[in-house]
Amino acid sequence: MSGTSHPVIRSSVLLGIIALLGTALLAGVNELTYERIIEQEKRRVLQQLNEIVPVASYNNDLLEDVIEIEDEVSFRHPAPVKVYRARMDGQPVAVMMIVTAPDGYNGDIRLLAGIDGAGEILGVRVISHRETPGLGDPIEAEKSDWIHGFKQKSLHDPEPGGWAVKRDGGQFDQFTGATISPRAVVRAVHNTLLYFEANRELLFDTPAIAVPTQMAKQNGQ
C-alpha cells in the first residue's frame, strides 16, 4: 500500500469513520435511555407483582428482597426459581415465585405464583408461554378468567386428588380442545404449593441476594 491516497485505504478509513459515528450515536442514546429502561423494567415487574399482592399488605422493597432457588426435582425444571418476598414490618406476608411448567403444549410456560403466609394462593399469572393462540392461551389472565380460579386455593382446598384438571378427575376446568396447557399450569402450581409447604422457613429466611431486575423474557403475545 502506498500512502493514504490508495483507494482501499481511503475506503477503509471512511467505513471506519461511519462505524465510529454509529457507535458514538448508539453510546449516546444508550446513555440517555439506560436509566429509564431499567426503571421501566422495574415498574413492569412491580406491576405484575402488585396484581397479586396488594401494595397495602407489605412495606418492604419487593424488588430487593429476592432469592433464587435451584431445585430441579421439586420444580421439574432446571431453571432457577426466583422468589420475591413480601413483608410487613419484617413479618412474612407472602412469597411470589416465578416457576416454569415444563410440559406445556409448546414447551415451557412461565408462571408467577403468589402464596401467602398461610399457604393460600394469592394469585397466579402467566408470564410467558407459547401455547396455541385461541386454544391454549386462555391460561392468560387477559384472555379468560380461568387463571383466577387458583385464588385462595391451598393444599387442603381442594384435597390432594383435586389438584388436576377435570378430565384427570380433578377440580380445575380444561379448555375446549386444550387439556395440556391447563394441566401443565395446574401441576406447576400444585408443585409450588408443595414446595412452599416443605420449605417455608427457607423461603422466608434465606438472606436476599442481588439479582438483576428483569423478570423474564416476554413472548410476543
Binding site: I37, Q40, R44, G220
Partner: protein, 230 residues
C-alpha cells in the same frame, strides 16, 4: 426512477411501488406483527422513521461512498438507526416494545430499506431522498395497518385494541368493539391468516388498478414493478 418531483415520489412509494403490496419486500415483519391495527401501525411508524433517517444519511454521504463499500456502509447506517429506535422504544413505549419484541431489531433485515438506500438515496439529493423514505414508509405502514385491521376485525371483532400502548392511557377508549361477543376466528390471527389477508389486499389493489386502467388495457402491465434491485 430518479424523479425529482416530490409528488411523484410520494405516489411511487405509497402506491405504485408499495413495498408490501407491489414490490413484496419486508414480508416477514409484515406478516408476523399484523394481528392488530396498533401493532401494525407501530411497526409501520418505526420502519418509516428508519427509512427516512437512513435515506437522508445515505443521501448526505452519497458523494463519499465508493461503490465497493456502499453496501457495508448502508448496513452500518441502517443498523445504527434501528438500534437507536429500539432503545428509544424500550425506554418510552415499553409495552409496545414488549409486544413487537424481536421485530424491532429485525427492521434492519427489511430489504426494502437497503433497497431504497441503494436504488434511490445513493443517487439523489437529501430532500427527494427524505421524501422517498417517507413515501415508502408510508406505503408500508398503510399496508401494515390495513392488514392489521382486516385480521383484528375478523379474528377478534375489535379495532385499535391496545391503543393505550402507543398513545398512553387515554388510548384505551379508542378500542372499538365492532362485533360484540365475537367468538374469535383463529385462522385470521394465525400466520395463514396473514398470508390470506395479504393476498386479499394485493388482489383488491390489482382489481382497483385494473378498473382504473380499463380504457387503455395495456396499462395493466404497469402493475409489474419496473425496479427490482433489492
Amino acid at each position: 426512477m430518479a424523479n425529482s418531483n416530490l409528488k411523484q415520489i410520494l405516489a411511487d412509494g405509497a402506491w405504485r411501488q408499495n413495498t408490501g403490496l407491489v414490490v413484496l419486500l419486508g414480508l416477514c415483519p409484515l406478516l408476523a406483527v399484523t394481528n392488530t391495527v396498533i401493532n401494525g401501525l407501530a411497526l409501520g411508524l418505526a420502519t418509516m422513521l428508519t427509512l427516512m433517517v437512513s435515506n437522508l444519511s445515505v443521501s448526505v454521504m452519497r458523494g463519499l461512498l465508493k461503490p465497493e463499500i456502499r453496501i457495508p456502509a448502508f448496513v452500518l447506517i441502517i443498523a445504527s438507526v434501528v438500534t437507536v429506535i429500539e432503545l428509544l422504544m424500550h425506554a418510552f413505549f415499553y409495552d409496545l416494545f414488549r409486544v413487537l419484541g424481536i421485530f424491532i431489531p429485525l427492521i434492519v433485515t427489511n430489504c426494502a430499506i437497503i433497497g431504497r438506500a441503494e436504488s434511490f438515496a445513493s443517487r439523489n439529493s437529501p430532500l427527494p431522498s427524505l421524501m422517498d423514505g417517507f413515501a415508502t414508509g408510508l406505503g408500508f405502514c398503510i399496508t401494515l395497518v390495513l392488514l392489521g385491521a382486516l385480521r383484528e376485525l375478523t379474528g377478534r371483532g375489535t379495532l385499535f385494541a391496545g391503543a393505550d400502548m402507543l398513545l398512553g392511557d387515554w388510548g384505551q377508549y379508542l378500542t372499538l368493539t365492532i362485533i360484540p361477543e365475537h367468538p374469535g376466528f383463529l385462522l385470521a390471527m394465525l400466520p395463514p391468516g396473514a398470508f390470506l389477508g395479504l393476498a386479499l389486499l394485493i388482489a383488491a389493489r390489482n382489481a382497483w388498478e385494473a378498473r382504473k386502467a380499463k380504457t387503455p388495457p395495456q396499462a395493466v402491465t404497469t402493475l409489474v414493478p419496473d425496479t427490482h434491485e433489492a
